[in-house]
């Protein structure tokens, strides 16, 4: 049957009758499923008080914005001040030029900026920058992974939760998932700063920050990030992070008790079994793909 992988979902939605399901999977399964459904039918979440929540939201907003204006307006009387703050609150969208770009799961996004610099965003990643002031202030907040091709001009800075990268005119890739940071430089120079340590990368060099510690620079031979060729590469990274990447790329769940070891190497994005081989073989681990292709056990 073609809908085998969504059978229970169709049944729950009333698209497949009890009788039909029973004929396909047996009476026992039907009873089990009904028990789960009828139990969860009675469950609920606490009602969220949206009005109170919205007041809280407005209050937080006003506090934040009044801080910005404090120096200018602290002498003005209370009524005038709150009026001005509200006015500011209501019109700030006209001047705010922060832009957010996010690549949803399974999508890569490409953005050309006002100065001609280009950014390619990997799945599930977000960048944020000020589009109006861009030429004078080329600063980007990144969560996730992206490749940059930067034109000459003012300093180009990428901030991540684990460190910042300042470009000195160049092409580079930044990988900032979880607690790690990995930067590869393909052209020109970039400066990487993390926890007070600084290093300058030139063409063909890469550096890794694992759990807050910056490693020695490494040599690379490729001139574009491997994810663009459907490959993930790791440099002495924790297995938990490797498994997370596998889970993202293949939409599977990895069950494993071995997490503390680290892994260096690649895996491809087009064949789950090959990918698992390339991780498990060097570490002497065994894996088992469950029949539904959704769960992988590694020991």
């Amino acid at each position: 049957m073609e809908d085998k992988d969504v059978l229970y979902a169709k049944w729950l939605n009333g698209e497949i009758s009890d009788d039909k399901l029973e004929s396909l999977v047996g009476a026992e399964a039907l009873v089990d499923l009904k028990r789960v459904v009828s139990a969860t039918d009675k469950w609920s979440m606490p009602k969220y008080d949206a009005s109170a929540g919205y007041n809280k939201f407005k209050k937080n907003k006003t506090v934040k914005e009044s801080k910005v204006k404090q120096i200018n307006w602290y002498k003005v009387s209370g009524i005038a001040a709150s009026f001005l703050i509200l006015f500011f609150f209501g019109t700030r969208f006209l001047t705010d030029s922060t832009q957010v770009i996010y690549a949803g799961n399974g999508q890569n996004e490409n953005k050309t900026l006002a100065d001609g610099s280009e950014i390619w965003l990997n799945d599930g990643s977000t960048i944020e920058f000020d589009s109006e002031d861009w030429k004078a202030n080329r600063t980007i907040e990144l969560s996730g992974e992206a490749q940059f091709e930067v034109t000459k001009g003012s300093p180009f800075i990428v901030n991540t939760p684990n460190g910042s990268i300042q470009v000195l005119g160049t092409q580079f890739n930044v990988r900032a998932w979880g607690p790690n940071l990995y930067v590869e430089c393909y052209e020109g120079k970039v400066q990487v700063t993390s926890n007070n340590r600084k290093t300058i990368l030139t063409e063909g060099e890469a550096v890794n920050v694992v759990q807050g510690t910056m490693t020695e620079k490494e040599k690379i031979t490729h001139d574009a990030p491997l994810w663009k060729n459907s490959i993930s590469r790791f440099h002495n990274e924790l297995l938990t992070d490797v498994f997370e990447e596998l889970e993202r790329q293949y939409d599977v769940e990895i069950k494993s008790t071995i997490l503390k070891r680290s892994f260096s190497g690649n895996f491809r994005h087009d064949n789950l079994e090959d990918a698992l081989q390339s991780i498990c073989k060097p570490l002497g681990l065994n894996f088992l793909i469950k029949e539904d292709q959704k769960i992988v056990e590694i020991e």
């Binding site: 992988d5 969504v6 059978l7 229970y8 979902a9 169709k10 729950l12 939605n13 026992e28 399964a29 009873v31 089990d32 499923l33 028990r35 789960v36 459904v37 139990a39 969860t40 039918d41 009675k42 469950w43 609920s44 979440m45 606490p46 009602k47 969220y48 949206a50 009005s51 929540g53 919205y54 809280k56 939201f57 937080n60 907003k61 209501g90 969208f93 006209l94 705010d96 922060t98 832009q99 957010v100 996010y102 949803g104 799961n105 599930g124 977000t126 969560s143 996730g144 939760p161 889970e247 939409d251 769940e253 539904d292 959704k294």
Partner: protein, 167 residues
Amino acid sequence: MSKTVCQEEVFESIFKTHAESLVNFLYYKSGDYPAAEDLMQDSFSKLWKECAKVSLDKSKSFLFTIANNMFLNKVKHKKVVLKFEQRSHSQFSNETPQYLLEEAEFKNRLELAIAGLPEGQRTVFLMNRIDKMKYKEIAEKLGLSIKAIEKRMHNALKELRKISHNL
């Protein structure tokens, strides 16, 4: 003037429409209600900041995407524990104490099993079961296809079925 997210009354109505499903969504992911509410508030702050860039019909999926990113950056990696309220039994129920005890036990085991589901399956399952959302609605919120939602739902049910069976 056509409606934009930047108009306060429009924004307020978006907030009131989606706040609850967003906070629930974040709870299903994190198992931490106060953290879920903070992230929900932060997601709306982001929407307000970006209101000029986000069209009205995109605001819903924008909120869920931002919430998911914030969750990944801030809260993930904690062990998830989920508890749900149970609507009270009918006053005239003639259910035996034995039955009620078994049912309470079943609820515990089911909650544990749900907490142990992969995050994507868990979220979809609970959005459907608790928030009573249709697959199409979940797909729109999460920016996924209906087929992807059905798959997650199927796999969740397949896993949870085992709990029922082993009791």
